[in-house]
């Protein structure tokens, strides 16, 4: 028997109740793999790439784009991929109806990939963060400028993806069709509402305690300096990547800080998924997460972080975060050091049980034997849920983290 799998409107945070399906990137008969982007959703947090959580073949597409559905509503169905017999027959009528809807409403694909390619070339979109080079003639660039069109969001239909005049006209037509259900102001207001709700709930429910430690980071800084020497910007590693890796490795030893408090009891998280608070230029924050940080190299973490920050801060330019990045964090990190504060006492994001705040790097006198040297230190503050952990464990965690940061080459 082949197992049928429902694809439902995902919950991207405890605060999300509904979302709008903007566009399907799959059709009946397509093969999808876990992690493939299958649809674009518009939520209160902005446009999000919805990912598949299973491998399979799309057997049914049950709903049409541009409608809003509650969390949990089944939107499409997959059939598990391993079975060789009984391959699904595409449901032509449904596909046609949906394609027709697209036509009549002039819904253009918002980003380059998938929809335009005849093949099921979902992999392209899944390539890690990479910015495409824009190929366009001077005339096209001039036209784009005149109409204030950002060429990086235009899908080129010319040779090798070059943007031609026709593409600019298409964008202008599309502008008459308002695809975002929320304006930037509304998004910001929603975001404030969400922050207010979750933070109030946290402060009401969670008995926080705070521990902080000044960690010498001379060695980490030296290691970074050596690693980054003569590197290109795309290979540059920032301290935060190293910190994330050190936190992940330390959490392996102290798993009680990595999990969820729900229905009066604590459950350990299966993976170490670390959310990272990203402040947006227009105000507000997004908290996307990196999955299984313990299994990534420092270089990989940096790569993911860079893409994540870029996407978070350019949501209005239709760069989008992945659904998985907003749903499954097991602990959060807030890095405010660059904003010039010494320490950060974070508020736990429920149902998580801890948040770690990083302050700025200060130059300080350090006693080494009989000498006083100038060294660098970083303040790390752990806020933890006293229902789940005690101070002793928190203190051990911080000291173990400090130790790990003394051997950056081993991270």
């Amino acid at each position: 028997m082949t197992k049928s799998i429902d694809i439902a409107m995902p919950s991207l945070g405890a605060d999300m109740t509904e979302g709008m399906l903007v566009e399907w990137l799959i059709k009946v008969g397509d093969k999808v793999k876990h992690g493939d982007v299958i649809a674009v959703l518009e939520t209160q947090k902005g446009a999000i790439d919805m990912e598949a959580y299973h491998d399979g073949i799309v057997t049914e597409i049950l709903v049409k784009p541009l409608n809003t559905f509650p969390v949990g509503k089944v939107l499409a169905r997959l059939k598990e991929i391993n079975s060789k017999h009984n391959l699904s027959q595409p449901n032509k009528t449904l596909v046609e109806t949906i394609e027709k809807t697209h036509d009549t409403q002039k819904v253009k694909p918002i980003v380059k990939p998938v929809n335009q390619s005849k093949k099921n070339d979902i992999k392209k979109i899944n390539k890690r963060f990479s910015r495409h080079r824009i190929t366009a003639s001077p005339i096209v660039r001039k036209a784009a400028k005149a109409h204030q069109i950002d060429l990086s969001i235009v899908s080129g239909s010319g040779f090798n993806g070059a943007i031609i005049l026709k593409d600019i006209t298409a964008v202008l037509n599309e502008r008459n069709f308002k695809i975002n259900i929320y304006t930037s102001d509304e998004k910001l207001a929603n975001m404030r509402k969400i922050i207010a709700l979750t933070m109030s709930e946290s402060k009401k429910e969670i008995p926080h305690f705070y521990l902080s430690l000044n960690i010498p980071i001379n060695k980490a800084q030296k290691w970074l300096q050596q690693t980054n020497q003569d590197k290109a910007p795309q290979e540059h590693i920032l301290l935060i990547a190293l910190l994330l890796k050190a936190v992940a490795n330390t959490l392996e030893k102290y798993p009680r800080l990595n999990g969820f408090y729900r229905n009066d009891h604590f459950e350990l998280a299966k993976n170490i998924n670390i959310a990272n608070v990203i402040s947006l230029r227009s105000g507000g924050v997004l908290v996307p997460s990196i999955s299984k940080v313990d299994q990534l190299s420092v270089r990989d973490i940096m790569q993911v972080l860079r893409g994540m920050t870029f996407r978070s801060r350019s949501i209005d330019r239709r760069e989008r975060l992945r659904s998985s990045a907003l749903s499954d964090a097991s602990i959060t990190i807030a890095n405010m050091g660059e904003r010039g504060v010494d320490r950060v006492f974070g508020i736990i994001y429920p149902p998580q049980v801890a948040i770690i705040g990083f302050g700025r790097i200060n130059r300080v006198p350090q006693v080494c034997g009989e000498q006083i040297n100038i060294g660098e230190q970083l303040n790390v503050c752990l806020s933890a849920d006293h229902r789940v952990v005690d101070g002793m464990l928190g203190a051990k965690f911080l000291n173990s983290l400090a130790k790990k940061l003394q051997n950056p080459e081993q991270l």
């Binding site: 290109a232 910007p233 540059h236 920050t309 350019s314």
Partner: protein, 85 residues
């Protein structure tokens, strides 16, 4: 690449991480990171965008000179001339 081209590449690269910034907001001899409120992640993304649009290789040792508009134009121009000759 002439100076005007280079300048617009730099402005575009800044705008790729800080879309609200206009050319007129930038004081040419001040640190871009402070002028445009870029953190270190934005700065790296700005440099990568600049490298892609100009096709000029940027290395870590160049970073200090890429922090003001005036110096950035000069260094990209130097590098571009060096590649051509």
């Amino acid at each position: 690449m002439n100076k005007i081209n280079i300048e617009s590449f730099i402005i575009e690269a800044i705008q790729s991480v800080a879309p609200e910034i206009e050319k007129s907001n930038i004081n040419r001899d001040e640190d871009i990171r402070e002028e445009c409120d870029l953190d270190s992640m934005d700065f790296i993304n700005y440099l990568e965008a600049l490298q892609e649009s100009t096709q000029i290789m940027i290395r870590e040792s160049d970073y200090p000179r890429l922090t003001t508009l005036t110096n950035a134009i000069a260094i990209i121009q130097d590098k571009s001339e060096a590649t051509q000759s």
